[in-house]
């Protein structure tokens, strides 16, 4: 008993440094976002083909719950451990945005379970699917940047690794611009159908489009913050 406790006492490292690296936890959280975004893509595809997405919603909900646990662990680390070379506010902002991505993904899939549109016009289906695909890819690219951030840190902020990171950031920014354009065009198309489609369905689909664009926004916010911390 005495020596077991002394063992705890002796290992100063456990008191100084968190058992899990915050970056590692963030990377796990981000991987969950990718999984959720892929499920969301499948859900949108199924929804547009008039198939129920209840099962997928449960899966995304479970991922969101797991992500919440990681978020709590991360916040716990940052509330206990006082000093960090990343600006604490920057890191917590990244965490907030990454967490919003999985929350919004969960929202999209849940929204799809509350109202089924019997017949989505073909010229709406394709751009919705395209927008969802762009959003999914952006989340994947954001994840790649977070994973790369681990390499940047491991390399002691080597300039060549920061350069790679910057290229990834530019990709996500370009995707955000293109999905913005796509979302806007989609909105116009939807409201142009006010005389053909049920207005409730129009508002419903527009809401889905807005949620998708928000996910894209969050992914851009994450990568821009990462660029700030790698250049600070």
């Amino acid at each position: 008993m005495f020596l077991e406790r002394s063992g705890e006492m002796a290992n100063i490292f456990q008191k100084l440094i968190p058992y899990r690296s915050p970056l590692e936890l963030l990377s796990e959280h981000s991987k969950l976002c990718v999984k959720a975004a892929n499920l969301m893509y499948t859900a949108v595809e199924k929804y547009l083909n008039n198939t129920s997405v209840d099962d997928l919603s449960k899966e995304v909900d479970a991922l969101e719950h797991a992500a919440d646990q990681l978020k709590l662990q991360l916040r716990n680390i940052y509330s206990k451990l006082k000093w960090t070379y990343f600006n604490k506010a920057d890191f917590l902002d990244i965490l907030h945005n990454v967490d919003s991505i999985i929350d919004l993904t969960d929202d999209v899939v849940k929204v799809l379970t509350i109202n089924q549109i019997d017949l989505v016009p073909e010229d709406i289906k394709a751009p919705v699917q395209e927008l969802t695909d762009t959003v999914r890819k952006s989340v994947e690219h954001m994840d790649a940047i977070i994973q790369e951030l681990k390499t940047v840190v491991e390399s002691g902020f080597a300039p060549k690794e920061i350069e790679k990171e910057d290229q990834g950031v530019e990709t996500v920014e370009a995707e955000e611009r293109s999905s913005d354009k796509l979302g806007l065009e989609l909105g116009k198309k939807l409201f142009a159908k006010k005389n053909e489609m049920n207005p409730v369905d129009i508002m419903f689909l527009n809401n889905v489009v807005i949620l998708l664009m928000r996910i894209e926004d969050r992914a851009r916010n994450v990568v821009e913050r990462i660029r700030m911390i790698t250049h600070s």
């Binding site: 005495f2 020596l3 077991e4 406790r5 002394s6 063992g7 705890e8 006492m9 002796a10 290992n11 100063i12 490292f13 456990q14 008191k15 100084l16 440094i17 968190p18 058992y19 899990r20 690296s21 915050p22 970056l23 590692e24 680390i77 940052y78 206990k80 451990l81 006082k82 000093w83 960090t84 070379y85 990343f86 390499t151 840190v153 491991e154 390399s155 002691g156 902020f157 080597a158 300039p159 060549k160």
Partner: protein, 412 residues
Amino acid sequence: MYVHIKEEGKSVITLFTILVGMFMAFTIGANDVANGMATAVGAKAITPKQAAFLASFLEFLGAVMFGATVTKTIANGIVSIEHITNPNHIIYGALSALLAAATWVLIATVFAMPVSTTHSIIGGMIGFGLVSGGVRVVYWSNLGKIVLSWIISLVVGGLLSFVVFKVIVLTILHRPSPLKAAKKVAPVLIGFTFFLISFLFSLKTLKKPYNVSLLAGLVFFVVAFVLSYLLLRRVINNKSNEYDAVEDIFRHVQVMTSAYVCFSHGANDVANAVGPVALILMIRQAGTANLGAIEIPKYILFIGGLGIALGVLLYGYKVMETIGYNITELNNTRGFSVDFGTATTVLLSSIFGFPISTTHTVVGAVTGVGLARGIEVINIGILRDILISWFITIPFSAGASAILYLILTRLF
């Protein structure tokens, strides 16, 4: 008849002091081994069993090779014993200091408080000094230097680790091929470690001239460099990225720096156990309190080193198993920098006779690597805990030692 009883009593006290000293050494070995070996075991570079064997050998070696100067400081550099005319009172005083320190370490361990044996024994020596001769018998300027060394050791540990990590970053991690660079730079770092140990051992312990010591250091540098270069040359990259391969190289090199921490720890901390014992044994031998310039006999360091080694082997092993691999994800390059900064600071303090806390130096070293952007997040609040532990440990052990001294001198 009376004289015979008195002599027998003194022998019992001497034997008892040695036993308490051995116990203290044993607890130091059992508790502190994790400071040296935790990063290497955590990195799976070495098993807890291997770590215990290696650590016990090196703690012993460090104690015997470099332990004399700090032991001298504890025995004769904190409290002036010249004012005490009765040699028995010095024996009681040293025993009180040792008992008070051992008790405090025991209490702290039970309550899992991170206290330092170094601070405990210094508090103990101050306590008996104050009640035996008042404030004038404490070497305040020496004590001031020791306290200053506690602050300096934090800073130096941090500075060395900062520099070592920056060197690794610039000469390895930022190079076009980090793996190739690591194969060239790591042997230099290993060679430098061996240079430092052999140079200081020759200069300070063997008292050889500067040029002879330098030559000895260079010979060890070349041998260590060539051997490690040949060994590391064989490492091939089977990792997904080169940085992982670099970490893999440092995973092996870290065994060496962990051993270096144990070696330095043995050199510095043996004094906490045998400082008072040395004082008692020397007074027993001289038969007078007037010791003049003292030399610490090797057998005393041998006893202390043995106690520490036994502590590591018999219980440190269990401590390592308890911790097991369940430690933080500290990269090997970072672990190397922390170990190197810690070990070098502790070894240099031992050479100059400053009893410092290895654990506290680790805190400085980890902070140094953090400041070099090597560790993401650090619990800087530990620095506050360190300050608190100074303010609690020293008064407690001083008070306990003073009370024990008064009791012993009244009883016998």
